[in-house]
Amino acid sequence: MRIAWIILTGALVLLAIGVAIWLGRLPSAMDIDEADPTSAADRTPPLRIGLIPERDIFEQRRRYRALADYLAAKLGRPVELVSSNTYEGVLKDFAEARVDAAFLGSLVATLAMDRHDAQVLLKPEVEGGIATYRGVILVRADSPIQSVDDLAGHSIAMVKATTAGDLFPMFEMVRRGLAQSPQPPEIKWVGTHDAVIREVAVGRADAGSAKDLRLDAYEAAHPAVRIRRLAASDPVPNNALVIRAGVADEIGPALARIMLAMDREETGRETLAAFGAVRFVPCRPEEYEAVYEMADSLGEQWAALGVSGPPPKRRGGRPDPPG
């Protein structure tokens, strides 16, 4: 009789286990993750870093996202990226305190320093110790245009409010009298340096003006495309980190300390590699001298750049060069 009870109890236990397993495998509405995804770090006000498109905006965002994540981990606060589609947009963001800092090309950096008292802090250095770039006027290798002087009556792709894509080619065109000629070059405003090179490469623009660093990268990626460089500007600082005046003292030292030390630790080096640089180095306003000189030399032709407002002025304590 005891065996009968053992068998019956065992069978009931097995049945109960089976039912429990079966019920356990049923989909449940309770499987909702109710954990608060917002960490303490996420609840602190984010550091907002502005960007201006200079290349493929999606690829640019990925590069800067890596840097932003690194900074967020180091600062203990979230870092947001704010991409404006125009230089006016980022300058407006500075004015309205919608960004705390921004990576700006040299022309907009000078405008930010001049108009909003922003402080330039750091600039990235790439392989070979290069922390500057030049503007280059380029045509396809098979183009009949042999020099800048031949641009009259031809289309040229330019990037508004950039030194390499706007100030330098306008400076060259003004200097060579092309801008004032009866057949000035037809300007096509594109959005990024990469777009300038692509428009020239596919033949939708006869010439273009862009950053040499982007052209180097394009030529490396497209060896079949042959490009001829007609002119190059003086070097200017690569896209530098500019801090808004109101928060420069608050976040500037911490950012400088973290970013200058990035190349001395493994995670930092990995982030720099993803970003496309080997280190950050200090940047000073004086390094923008070439920009100021080109802007000054434009005179009234400054308006032709399509940049609203007056040209940038050197900061206090540095008198304008004579002439």
Partner: protein, 362 residues
Amino acid sequence: MLRRKLLLMLGSLVALLLAAAVCALLLLQDVLEDLNHVSSAALTGTTRTSVLGATITTIEAELNEIHLERETHLDRLIDTVETLNEQVRDLGQFFFIKEDGASNYQRLLEFMPIFVRHVGDLATTRDPELAAAHADLALEASVALRKEIAALGNISQAHAEREQQQVNVKFRWMVLGVAIVFLLVINISIMVLLRAATMILKPVDRLVEASRRLAQEEFDYRVDVVQHDEFDELARAYNGLAEQLQLNEHRKIETLHHVARTLNHELNNAASIIELQLKLLARNSQGEQSMAKPLGQIHETLKRMSDTVNALKRIRRIVLTDYLEGVKMLDLKRSVEEGPRPGESPSQTMVEKNPDDRTAGA
């Protein structure tokens, strides 16, 4: 032993039923999971393709906002494009894509960078002519993407319907299989129960029959039960009892035979003398009529006595009958017969309860 056999049989039956039930549950669970997979896959596949289309629409709307300069930031556009990329990557993980929609998905992957590049250019280009060119190219890529997405949606639907059909077929086979298995189990259960019943009823019938025979004084009847259990022991006990009763009966008959022989010996001598004296009396009476009758009666009585004694020697069994109220005597006529007559009830053939009854009968 019998209990163990019954437990083994019933335990096996319960285990068999349990195993069949567990197997049926597992199969049902399998089918339920398949059904769940089909419904979720169909829903997810259709939803994902719909969401992809919606994301493209969002990108187009965002581009329009930028074009109209109502939006000066690119973050939402970039985020949406990244979302689109993730959605396309996620879509590639679906089984129906790998199985049926590989070519469409491949074309989708080819159109994606074209679409994304023109979206990026369109969002940043300030030249109206170039913007129009990029808008045309982006629209072309968008249309191509939507076509492939729609095709993938149809493939997802068709795949889900096919899987649904397969699950239906699987479910039908499962129901059929489970029904057959349970029919088998029920048949086996019936056979096992019949076997268990036979195991009990058959020896019980034999023992009942043996008891009846015993009641009818068939002491030579034996029960044949060979199943090594309690019934076996009971049968052996019965057989032992029957043997003992048969032996007792045999002894009683033997004793009666001894008594008969003794009586025969003693009465024969007396009867011979009486017979001789009767013959002398008959000769001396010389045919006198008044003597002839009593002498004849004495002769007849002597003959009856001799017959009774002879009958006692031929007793084969002991059958008692009522002599007086509460007093038994031997039914000599029936006791010399071979066995009980068919239909003779135990009340007619009574085994003596004590030696007095036998003596009284004798």
